[in-house]
């Protein structure tokens, strides 16, 4: 029975191809949404992930960087640096704000570096210097290209103008890019002096980040200290939460579209096979066997569509990243697994209507000529 149903599918390869292509386009849409979401979520936490800190120290109660505010007095930096297990400390001042470049406005993380900075600044440079002096700024390469700026160009952060001295790599995101200024300038912008937002701590080689975090929290009052892995996890969770509803809606729309397309294909297939289905019922095939075959057909079409969509996405994503550098897209195994599971749901839902149609089919209609 199953063999017959599958061979029937291949009897009209063009129809099958169109069906798979249609459903694949819906799945591709979902993969793209997922890819953009996953890519942007990764990019939002790019700074936390890439700087070489073992432990993050911040104002007590703060547990992440994205959209957070943290103030610590500068003297606590010295206090932390003298603790056992601490190999080094760098401090940054941090502000979430809109950066104006020509007519464009970019929401950005502005990181005020205590220059010279060994590891709190840009982790990869495309061009120029990575240590901004007063009045200078290091901006993402993508950001500069999109704003048609280069080294020597200027931009505004709040009410102050800065000169671009460096173009960094991997620091751009549609949601928030990372730009680096001198800490003195950011203190001035924020009218807050002798303060720090975060301390980026390096642990001694024989000490774990957890041990160092515990030592810091035990020795310094009113601070939270978290191992970098935990801090990154917190930041990522928050970033994901902020986009979850949007991506869920997009996934629902794409999924519904896929259901419609697969259902229509299976429905058409069943409609075309009405006579043959009546015949096989007359020959002794049970309704259950027919249902199973209809579901398997739907699953086959859906999984083929998911596979095609995944392959297209894998081929397209690198090209799209080059074509649209503003958008960061990532295709992960988790995304593919999620979409495959979604595809199986799609198949079962899509098979429901055709299966009902088959159940009502009168085997005696096999006698109709």
């Amino acid at each position: 029975m199953l063999r017959w149903m599958i061979k029937s599918l291949f009897l009209e390869p063009l129809t099958l191809l169109v069906a798979i292509a249609s459903a694949a386009s819906a799945f591709l849409l979902i993969i793209m949404f997922e890819g953009i979401f996953a890519g942007e979520s990764e990019q939002i936490v790019a700074y936390v992930r890439n700087v070489k800190a073992d432990v993050w120290v911040m104002q007590r109660g703060v547990s992440n960087m994205h959209m957070a505010t943290s103030y610590l007095p500068d003297w606590k930096v010295r206090q932390v640096s003298e603790l056992p297990g601490v190999a080094g400390v760098e401090s940054i001042l941090y502000l979430n704000t809109v950066v104006e470049v020509a007519d464009q406005r970019w929401f950005s993380y502005v990181v005020g570096l205590d220059v010279p900075s060994e590891y709190a600044g840009p982790w990869a440079m495309a061009e120029g210097r990575d240590q901004p002096a007063a009045g200078e700024v290091v901006v993402p390469e993508v950001f500069a290209h999109m704003s048609q700026l280069g080294i020597g160009g200027t931009l505004r952060v709040t009410d102050r103008e800065f000169t671009i001295v460096g173009l960094s790599k991997g620091t751009f995101s549609m949601a928030n890019s990372v730009i680096f200024v001198n800490k003195v300038d950011l203190e001035d912008i924020m009218s807050s002096f002798d303060i720090t937002s975060f301390m980026l701590v390096k642990a001694e080689p024989d000490t774990t980040p957890e041990q160092v975090a515990a030592i810091i929290e035990g020795a310094v009052e009113h601070v939270s200290a978290l191992p970098a892995s935990q801090f990154l996890k917190n930041d990522k969770r928050l970033a994901m939460q902020m986009g979850t509803e949007t991506i869920a809606l997009m996934t629902f729309i794409g999924g519904a579209l896929a259901v419609l397309l697969v259902a229509f294909t299976i429905y058409s297939q069943v409609a075309r096979q009405r006579r043959e289905l009546a015949v096989v019922k007359a020959l002794g095939v049970t309704n259950r066997a027919i249902y199973t075959s209809v579901v398997v057909q739907a699953i086959g079409i859906t999984l083929a569509s998911v596979a095609v969509a995944t392959m297209i996405a894998m081929a397209l994503l690198p090209a799209l990243s080059n074509l649209i550098p503003a958008v960061t897209m990532t295709l992960t195994l988790v995304s593919v697994a999620k979409i495959t599971i979604l595809g199986l749901f799609v198949a079962v839902i899509a098979a429901y209507l055709p299966a009902r149609q088959v159940a009502r089919l009168d085997p005696a209609s096999a006698f109709q000529t």
Binding site: K7, S8, L11, K281, G284, V285, F367
Partner: protein
């Protein structure tokens, strides 16, 4: 020695609709069939032949009455049990062949065998024998759309036989075939009944088939009556005057309480356009079939 009864239908009634729109498609039909018997069911279009065949094959439930195949009452079975009866006990042959387009000749023949657990190995061997016997060897791997009408019907016959059912139900098996292929199919069915002891009910309009039948049943208005193959009831077409067999004529109409039979659609249409013109040439007292309005010759 009395042959085993394969099929026994008792007081079958099938009605469609209700109230004023109720139609009695099968009206109190009883029938039994012995092993090796080939029975023809003839009758005008819409007389209930296909409905009867569907009930006998377990495709349609009778409104009342019962059907026993090999002593098993299939009318009392629920929907989940009937598919196995269809697969094991009944072989269907259709006018339109109804082969599965995606499957080869051999796969079509073996299709019902796959529905029965454990019987596939033997069936595969039997399929080979049937393919040789029905002269389908060179077409074993062909798809249905490449076959001639006669070949398709031979495949359908092989498919009906693959599970060795005691009962074969054939609906107009020669209806879509030329005379040579039709004759060939009829002889195959005859041999199946006589050589293998299968019981065959064959619905047909084709009077050429009468020669191979053991019995001919006439179905009209849902009721069944026996008719010997050599008997005919000749009447004259009131339009062209041609001789027509009332038993097998497909075209008929009633006018003022009398039935008239026609050789062709054209004659029927001309009659309907101006019945009085033709009726006046057929006085009611002419011939012995005055009660039916027909003219016996």
């Amino acid at each position: 020695m009395k042959e085993k009864v394969v099929l026994c239908a008792e007081n079958l009634v099938k009605t469609f609709g209700s109230g004023h729109t109720e139609v009695r498609a099968v009206d109190d039909i009883s029938l039994s069939l012995e092993a090796g018997e080939l029975v023809l069911v003839m009758g005008p279009s819409g007389s209930g032949k296909t409905t009867l065949l569907s009930i006998l094959g377990g495709l349609l439930r009778p409104s009342s009455g019962r059907v026993l195949i090999d002593g098993t009452d299939i009318s009392a079975m629920d929907e989940s049990q009937l598919p196995m009866i269809r697969a094991r006990s009944v072989g269907f042959i259709f006018q339109a062949f109804n082969l599965l387009d995606a499957l080869t000749v051999e796969e079509n023949i073996l299709f019902p065998a796959r529905l029965i657990r454990g019987g596939y190995g033997e069936a595969s061997k039997r399929a080979g024998e049937l393919i040789e016997r029905l002269k389908l060897g060179p077409r074993r791997n062909a798809l249905p759309h490449t076959l001639s009408g006669g070949e398709k019907q031979r495949v359908a016959i092989a498919r009906a036989l693959i599970n060795k059912p005691p009962l074969i139900l054939a609906d107009e098996p020669t209806g879509n075939l030329d005379s040579v292929s039709g004759q060939e199919v009829m002889m195959i069915l005859h041999d199946i009944a006589k050589d293998e002891g299968r019981s065959i009910i064959l619905v047909t309009h084709d009077p050429r088939v009468e020669d191979v039948a053991d019995r001919i049943l006439w179905l009209e208005d849902g009721g069944l009556r026996d008719r010997k193959s050599e008997q005919h009831s000749w009447v004259r077409d009131p339009v062209c005057g041609m001789r027509v067999d009332e038993w097998t004529a497909e075209l008929s109409t009633s006018h003022e309480g009398q039935s008239y039979y026609f050789c062709a659609q054209r004659c029927l249409e001309r009659f309907k356009a101006d019945p009085q013109r033709y009726v006046k040439d057929f006085p009611g007292d002419q011939g012995g079939a005055a009660s039916s309005g027909a003219i016996s010759l």
